[in-house]
Symmetry: C2
Subunit: 146 residues, 2 copies
């Protein structure tokens, strides 16, 4: 549970190890360094998919617009509640999860935790949840006139 | 990653299994059911310690006042950043962690995750962090005139 630059560089190292796929499921994503890393992976041909919260993604500083601009697939909730997860899965086998949103405020100033887990027993429910949310938030299912 | 009442009853079951100690480290704690469970454990003689966020604990619906009224030790941060953790440790060996704050909104309406982990390798860093925060937030160390 390291702080600040140490937490950021550990997280970057884990992400940049991705070779095939990266699933990201984040309430808040505004860290420029992490945004850059994700765009870099996309540029390298890693399949990146992002799920985020509709209320947060439009706030100033959000990285979501830049990710979309780079051609990365992003989906968001259509519900009253928050999409409050904060996890990522690298290459289908490394789960990064905890209390940390990917924001500079959280990385620099908050008390946070990040768990990195490689046991399939823990990783699978998160991957399953990601696929469930990915389908549920498919734009083809949006209901503009409910 | 179950929702609503199912998530709540699983969490309650894990908490109510406590026999000796319960450490709680939560950004937001406003669920009346979980508040009742924690007071019940305290009444049974389980050593309960709570760490929370100063900005959130005074909000309407917070359970922190009721916990203190019941005689439970609560400590909070004195920093600008958030105490953003959301974890609990039962009897020093079961870690409950994830994205979930203990609020009715989160339990009923949000997409959240809760991990229950018993491997000492994962539990120990959280227990260590709790003890570190517990000492750091000791009221004897408050600086009213910094």
């Amino acid at each position: 549970l390291p702080h600040g630059d140490c937490a950021l560089s550990r997280l970057l190292r884990r992400l940049l190890a991705a070779r095939r796929s990266l699933e990201i499921c984040l309430f808040a994503f505004s860290s420029p360094q992490l945004g850059r890393a994700v765009r870099l992976l996309h540029g390298r041909g890693v399949r990146v998919r992002v799920v985020t919260d509709a209320q947060y993604m439009g706030l100033r500083g959000s990285q979501i617009g830049l990710l979309r601009q780079a051609g990365i697939q992003v989906r968001h909730d259509q519900e009253g509640g928050y999409m409050h997860h904060k996890f990522a899965v690298v290459d289908g086998r490394v789960l990064i999860t905890g209390s940390l949103n990917w924001t500079t405020q959280a990385i620099q100033n908050n008390r946070e935790n990040v768990l990195v887990v490689e046991d399939a027993e823990y990783v699978k429910p998160f991957l399953d949840e990601f696929e469930r949310i990915w389908e549920e938030y498919n734009p083809a299912n949006y209901r503009f006139f409910p």
